[in-house]
Symmetry: C2
Subunit: 264 residues, 2 copies
Amino acid sequence: MSLLLEIPLFLLIALYSYLEAFIKLFIPVKRKSVTGEIVLITGAGHGLGRAMAYEFAKHRSRLVLWDINKVKEEIGDVSILMNNAGVIAPTDLLSTEDCEIQKMFEVNILAHYWTSKAFLPTMMRNNRGHVVTVASAGGHIVAPFLVTYCSTKFAAVGFHKALTQELITLKKNGVQTSCICPMFINSGFVKNPSSRLMPPLEPEEVAKKVMEGILANKRMIFVPPLLKVSVMLDRFLPARAVAALWRLNELKFDAVVGYKDKEK
Amino acid sequence: MSLLLEIPLFLLIALYSYLEAFIKLFIPVKRKSVTGEIVLITGAGHGLGRAMAYEFAKHRSRLVLWDINKVKEEIGDVSILMNNAGVIAPTDLLSTEDCEIQKMFEVNILAHYWTSKAFLPTMMRNNRGHVVTVASAGGHIVAPFLVTYCSTKFAAVGFHKALTQELITLKKNGVQTSCICPMFINSGFVKNPSSRLMPPLEPEEVAKKVMEGILANKRMIFVPPLLKVSVMLDRFLPARAVAALWRLNELKFDAVVGYKDKEK
């Protein structure tokens, strides 16, 4: 087809998608059922993973919980697979041990990648399933002193976006994708975070919001939803203004697990 | 300071930065000299890295060229450090060998991370230097069938942005950062790429544009500059319209180095 025909066609598709999105604003979102569905959660031993396990347990899903740390207690109908690869800490570029970024990539990206790779062929064959990638606000907005953490979370967002595009291209519309991007959560990963503009979240409240998003097949789940505005602002503000915003926000957190105390 | 005072202050900083950026549009950009400067280039054996080495050689920089592949020939005043860790190929999620994403992260992220980590302390002590991160259009816009490639390039963009923010926060304004984001380059990495909307680039023309950006201390260098518009469009268009744009663009490339033929 010639470009002269295809460009108006593309514009029609874009317009149609916008209209559809606008109309959907006024239609109550249909939530799917996850009762009896097999749900595999990586990092299920603590923080958000653990809270998500509780949420799915409430929906009577069949849970498979994985964690590199010890899964502290069983939750409902649970089978637990564990291995102990140690604890990972978010650290800044200059104080990070060489092996830590490697470990961080392994936990934040490779573990998720390998898990997806194991289950995607079956999902695609059945044209049914849902891949949920856990990223972070740090996958969109960078934070100073969290260089390695942000790199891995950017990678998680890229993974989700490229996978989504690939599934659309292959017309596997039955395989859903979601990307979870919460602000700082008060879990074991970062201890006692505090900030002036957005108070840190508890894993349980994040899990509730995330569950709503997953059941509605939402692609990008920001918690709190206001975060979406911050991401937009971050794209348009000059770097100096972003730095001023960071100073103003006074983000602080205590020692991260297994790592020396620091205040940022 | 109270938020009531700080928010207007932040708005002033933002306004000042915008004004400064606007005024700078009309002032010829001052280019720094790199004559006699030590320039370390990773991936200098082929493609963009090699073309960049030639550009810096023209400016009479002192070059240190690294590559995991064999560096094919010496360029000017060159000391070469090599090791042979094999060749990496961009591949889609479902056909990638398990070890390949690991290798890809090692080449695209970890190598750059470790290099930066080795030289940043000295740069920061002297408040002088320039860290150039080689990302890609794929670090902003996702391409189907390049899931692992895009993940690593998103990580590279995240690394650059977080490092930039960290240096600003630490007031190390003498240490510059640039992130290079070219469209598909006709180099060994992807063979014979073709697309309808943006013709593939030759390494030499990208290197020239990149050099201009580096000498002007530009933070994000898109090649071609039009790419910036595509990135903006990609953020605002719905996923379905983005997929239509991909189909319309008819991006194709032959076998990537060391990998089976595919057409996308």
